[in-house]
């Protein structure tokens, strides 16, 4: 649930710090993994359930979450498998993450009804009962105490909802399916939600939306920490939305120090990669739009880029060719310091999926979220407010840093295009959720966006609204803008490091 800290957020974060604590402090070679049997009791203590009908079920859910936080697959519900199976093998500091990335824990799913129109007890069984009159299929009748909707007949047109003078008729659906702009939530034979992996673009919004904490992605915190403990050189590349994510006392410089205290060698701004991307996409726009590409769709949000190519293959050549800024930044690190492992830290679940692609694997070793990083700080008891101010390895321009907020990518690109072709008008459209992105794509297909730049993002508000964030969106947005304004360079073209 975005914007309100609920027991779900808490459980998720407790799991991250449990796993991080083990990874930092325990014997990762031996058979200390029994620790994780106790984790479930630390998170759900006592004999009474905290949230559900059974304390055993609550702990069972925690156990599957722990496995996924270690990058492992869930266990089958119907057959025996020890919790710790496979844990030892994941402790070698190598990449383990595998598909499916986003998973519904089947027995945690409460089988919320799919799209349904229902009469609530606000109904006063009024004399006018316009609900019956407006229904085109005679699905509404007046029962003994209230209006009744025949679910077999209902076609979900919603007309009764608008007609009711008491706002007594409601439409509700599965929160996970409503959050999913890619329509990737199906039902299994028991009516539980299941993710259609063909359609899923890993935006991660169902994870933070499900009110029963039934959905989780896999994490790589365990592998990052074991890599550090095994003496490997690991550098961090951090997304532009990082400012303001770790509390009001954690300045960007202190965050950098904190990350290095975890044992990471360098902290590089992915905003630099954004600058690199701006230059490339500005060139692509100038060379190809509108002659051989009707429009240009941005490529920095992997969910949007995958989605755009999946749902409308006929316009897929209009989505910019470049990979995300993450990849550009990672390539830079590998070029400057071969053999160094690269961990991307960001707000994003989709980057975990992007990092599994064959062309990206060689550059990005691990992907973790801000929430997962905060779990690491907490496990290692690093107080960010006590840290010295440190500086970022590579600097990004104001425009590159602005990528984190919806509208920022288009702004950066327009600036870069105008630098190259002064006086050129660059009309643009933008959308910051996949449903609106889909509408934008349809318009583009219909020829309504010829010569346009299309900024697509899967998360509301842009990256600052990503599923792996800790801060509320408006607060994060202003922190990002302030940090962007402090850059010595205005746009990508001014960045001497390119």
């Amino acid at each position: 649930m975005r914007g309100i800290f609920t027991p779900i957020t808490k459980i998720r974060r407790q799991v991250f710090s449990e796993v991080a604590k083990f990874a930092f402090e325990h014997d990762i070679e031996g058979d200390d993994f029994g620790y994780f049997y106790e984790s479930a009791y630390r998170i759900i203590p006592g004999e009474e359930p905290l949230y559900r009908d059974s304390v055993f079920k609550e702990r069972a859910i925690i156990r599957e979450r722990i496995r996924m936080a270690m990058g492992l697959p869930m266990r089958p519900t119907g057959t025996h498998q020890p919790l710790t199976e496979g844990m030892q093998d994941t402790a070698d500091g190598k990449k383990r993450l595998d598909l499916p990335l986003v998973n519904v824990i089947p027995f945690a799913c409460e089988k919320c009804p799919t799209d349904r129109i229902q009469v609530s007890d606000n109904c006063r069984k009024c004399l006018a009962h316009p609900c019956t009159a407006v229904c085109p299929v005679k699905a509404v009748s007046i029962g003994k105490n209230a209006a009744v909707i025949d679910q077999d007949k209902c076609i979900k047109c919603g007309r009764c909802i608008t007609a009711c003078p008491y706002h007594a008729i409601l439409r509700f659906g599965r929160p996970c399916a409503e959050a999913c702009g890619a329509d990737a939530i199906d039902s299994d034979e028991l009516g539980r939600a299941v993710i259609n992996q063909e359609k899923c673009v890993a935006c991660g919004l169902c994870i933070v939306t499900c009110p029963f904490a039934a959905i989780s992605d896999k994490s790589e915190i365990f592998q990052v920490i074991t890599a550090i403990r095994r003496g490997k050189r690991v550098a961090a590349i951090i997304a532009p939305s990082f400012v303001g994510q770790f509390g009001p006392l954690a300045t960007p410089g202190k965050i950098v120090s904190g990350i290095r205290k975890l044992g990471l060698s360098h902290v590089i701004e992915v905003g630099w990669g954004a600058d690199y991307g701006s230059m490339q996409e500005a060139d692509e726009f100038i060379v190809h739009v509108p002659h051989d590409k009707k429009f240009l769709g941005t490529s920095c949000c992997p969910s949007w880029a995958m989605f755009a190519r999946n749902v409308q293959p006929e316009t897929s050549d209009c989505i910019a060719l470049s990979h995300t800024p993450m990849v550009a930044a990672a390539k830079k690190v590998k070029e400057l310091s071969p053999g160094t492992l690269v961990v991307f830290i960001g707000p994003c679940v989709a980057k975990k999926l992007e990092a599994l692609e064959d062309e990206v694997r060689p550059y990005v070793d691990f992907v973790i979220t801000y929430e997962e990083l905060m779990g690491m700080f907490s496990a290692k008891e690093i107080e960010l407010s006590d840290m010295e101010e440190d500086t970022l390895g590579t600097l990004a321009s104001r425009d590159g840093r602005g990528y984190a907020v919806a509208g920022g990518v288009a702004e950066a690109l327009v600036n870069s295009i105008k630098r190259r072709q002064p006086g050129r008008e660059v009309p643009f459209m933008k959308a910051d959720n996949l449903r609106d992105c889909h509408k934008m794509l349809r318009l583009a297909k219909a020829g309504k966006a010829d010569g346009y730049l299309l900024e697509g993002m899967a998360c509301p508000g842009g990256c600052v609204g990503g599923p792996g964030t800790l801060s509320l969106i408006p607060r994060a947005g202003s922190a990002v803008k302030a940090f962007a304004a402090s850059s010595p360079y205005l746009s990508a073209d001014d960045n001497p490091m390119l």
Binding site: G3, I4, K10, R13, L472
Partner: protein
Amino acid sequence: MGKIVVEVCAGTHCTLMGSMDIIDAIASLPEIGHIEDGLNDIEVIPVPCRNHCKENMVGPIVYVEGEIIPQADQETVLAAIINKIRAQKV
């Protein structure tokens, strides 16, 4: 009527456990100002870790006029603030 001082721990453990959400919830209080006056006079101060978390107290830790609230959430903090405001009035 005096100001109500609310210190919210912005240390690592407490931030992980949701203290930023509490700060934002308090900031939203003036929106219900027509129901309760005095809501405009709250000062929210993010404070560093005072080591309660290391003594096994569970965060987030909030201090409403010095009174410590462990395992705070929006519910308890908002209620504590409103109580203080009401107590000041009588």
